[in-house]
Symmetry: D2
Subunit: 266 residues, 4 copies
Amino acid sequence: MPIEISTRFAFSLDQPCDVLLQFEAAAIPEQRVLTATSRMGKSEHFARIAAQDGIGERILLQLEGRCEVTYDARVAIDRLLPDIATLARLEPHDLPAAAVQYLFDSRYCPAERFHPFVEAEFAGLEGGAHVLAIRDWIATNLTYTPGCSDSNTTALDSFVERRGICRDYAHVLITLARASAIPARYCSVYAPGVDPPDFHAVAEVFLADPSVPGGGAWHIVDATGMADPGDTVKIGVGRDAADVSFMTVFGEAQFEDKEVTVRKTA
Amino acid sequence: MPIEISTRFAFSLDQPCDVLLQFEAAAIPEQRVLTATSRMGKSEHFARIAAQDGIGERILLQLEGRCEVTYDARVAIDRLLPDIATLARLEPHDLPAAAVQYLFDSRYCPAERFHPFVEAEFAGLEGGAHVLAIRDWIATNLTYTPGCSDSNTTALDSFVERRGICRDYAHVLITLARASAIPARYCSVYAPGVDPPDFHAVAEVFLADPSVPGGGAWHIVDATGMADPGDTVKIGVGRDAADVSFMTVFGEAQFEDKEVTVRKTA
Amino acid sequence: MPIEISTRFAFSLDQPCDVLLQFEAAAIPEQRVLTATSRMGKSEHFARIAAQDGIGERILLQLEGRCEVTYDARVAIDRLLPDIATLARLEPHDLPAAAVQYLFDSRYCPAERFHPFVEAEFAGLEGGAHVLAIRDWIATNLTYTPGCSDSNTTALDSFVERRGICRDYAHVLITLARASAIPARYCSVYAPGVDPPDFHAVAEVFLADPSVPGGGAWHIVDATGMADPGDTVKIGVGRDAADVSFMTVFGEAQFEDKEVTVRKTA
Amino acid sequence: MPIEISTRFAFSLDQPCDVLLQFEAAAIPEQRVLTATSRMGKSEHFARIAAQDGIGERILLQLEGRCEVTYDARVAIDRLLPDIATLARLEPHDLPAAAVQYLFDSRYCPAERFHPFVEAEFAGLEGGAHVLAIRDWIATNLTYTPGCSDSNTTALDSFVERRGICRDYAHVLITLARASAIPARYCSVYAPGVDPPDFHAVAEVFLADPSVPGGGAWHIVDATGMADPGDTVKIGVGRDAADVSFMTVFGEAQFEDKEVTVRKTA
């Protein structure tokens, strides 16, 4: 049962600008991109480069005037979905080099300041059980509230104000996981069931890989509860939202509109 | 004329803790580590992994009780030192994949918010000349003031308070460079001339590589003016100070003391 | 030539809520309220109390359901308008008790952190000349940009982002004045010429009163340049915008709309 | 059983500076100052003015060179100490004008952002019982930790980091009370039992006055639990710590030392 994605967004640029786009389903082992068509209009320059951790691609273009991006794809998910509650934690000294950076503070995830909170609130829990307790704490204590957060909102703000959207939920989960010495990263995704339909964001935590003794793997956790990891199509990953915006303009742009539909096909 | 480094620091841990250390000169083409001895006492677990961008190594250990780290090394610098003022900027669409992440906001470098400032203050400048104008602006407007900043201090704080130490100077330079769409990263270094002697931090900007047509390279810029790029020994790099602390403890530690000496030998 | 004011705003409350309103021209010596009519619908409880520094009144009511407030007034201004450039500064030890609180940091005006900046930027200037230099610095370096600031935006944010609306301009001016040991307060006003028409905000600084030897007085300074102090009708004053909102609801409200017109009559 | 206070602090000024001091027991009905001696050395200018809400005095001087302040006093407390748990809340429309400003956000107490938290955490509680639940929440969730906070630390920081000193405890209590529409102010005090001995800070909340039907009064609440309201000597009050520092220097000062002893006499 592949996932069918259809995205459209448009914006205007007063003068020629470099634009960075990342909106396509990543071609990675855990999800097969069956068909995909991206249209971005004509551009003076065009480059595709590997995105962070080699997951997906960033498109760099120079655009001008009114620009419209459309994307249609069908993606089949082959992801292993272990029971997170049972997954062990990897000690920092057992982490692979690539996971270590996801222990550190990032733009929206000032994890260090949350040490005392996680120690008091989640004492005695380890690994996957600890992560699920964080997820449940967020689901209980935050209210999903569109329109109250913006591009300056950090996990600290959302933790205090007890509200936010998918991006903020992911930031709080990542922050509390890192404060517990569990690597966590931000994952921009498409997922059916997101309401209202839009780009979605989830967290990924690095815990034991049940299929590789001593090994570790990234596991999706959605604190909003809207996305089913088995149906979630990854676009890209990063330290936090600063790394995986679907559109970054190096100059002034007027954003016009956006339409995202994601369906599970029969 | 190699650089001679001697470092010692000590700390105490009440209970067994994972500790991440990064204090050794990186073995990279631009600097040859002639001799090096690191001593860290005995540890239950020990791992060496590649640090960010493959520059230097992170050491992960499990330690307990009183711990002392000593490091002695001699390093010869072979770095090319082009005149930064003459270096062209690479357009975002010409950047290699590995440089793109250094355009984004990070924990201590909220660059996006500084767009209007850099556009107004450095209008008409490009590439290396633009970077040097940023460096000069910092040198003119900030006062080197130990004791006024801490692990929560961001480039925004330092920009407002007009003071800081090497770490803060590097953060402001990185922030203003990224706000100008120039990739910039944080570089932890040893350098003679740092006063008082200590670990030092500089910025690196990604501009044209004069020896490779169309190519780019990282170039050291020290807004404090204390380090000569020709004598600077790199330890590691990252988005900002969050990524390259010389010591990160996953638990409670009492820091005791630190001694760093760096000399240019005859 | 009195000023004619007409204000209307409406909001809805799901359940009975206490509401604090402050939207009427203050009855103070420097401005005579010739005629005024306020309508607020029926309320369970109603109290009028003196507002901060005795300037204007706060209305406290308990409201429910849809609420509409209308206000029509004609106000004649009798304000003395000395040339601010010529006004001396009062030393802190010469300040009256009521002015001292306006030297301190407040919610949106963290003045202490700006000491080094004001010392460097406005060195050698004193009193009114110093204040006008601050005003000119703001006019030169900030861009009036609706939609970029909100109720969390402090003077620090606006100083960094170099943009804002009247409220932000006033906060930056107040902050830089206090950082220079000049008392400054926030003043909510009606003024013709504000575009788009709305409630407006200006700063007031406490400098010498040219008509009272040794005395001091509050003087209006509008960093946006939109309001003429000779035509400005004061509603209320406070440390910053936190103290003089036109509407504060102790509960949940849906704001509907607002219409403010201010005209200079023949 | 009067309280005996002995205070000494010293500092140096490189050049003549205005200094604001507030360190004396306030002469107010609830506490009789039996004897008091203040010594501040010679000063060029000297003024005593009423402090905020008429509680205590601010001393404004111009000083130079090395300055030493000593203060010795004996104070008898006559304060009424109702059982706070039984005190009713005053609706905003029943508040006197002077209490209203203590509902608003201030420098260190951004109360508005905590609405959702207080509504969820303290649902169903009213008045004094609500305030005591806030006090107990703070006592349970924060750890008294000297050295982790500074003059930039807000209640938001302390709420996230779950630690602080008396000043931070008072800020969190004030913030959560205001977020519940209960006026709260900061009170700088002397109190026996403070460990280590120092100036101390508590919060005051405005609730019903059990001795005046329909009236309200300020009631001391110390979230640290160190001070007994019956032995607490008030120095001054304010919105938060920004208003009642024992020493504010309008210029550069080197602080030397401070010694505070407070004893309950037989």
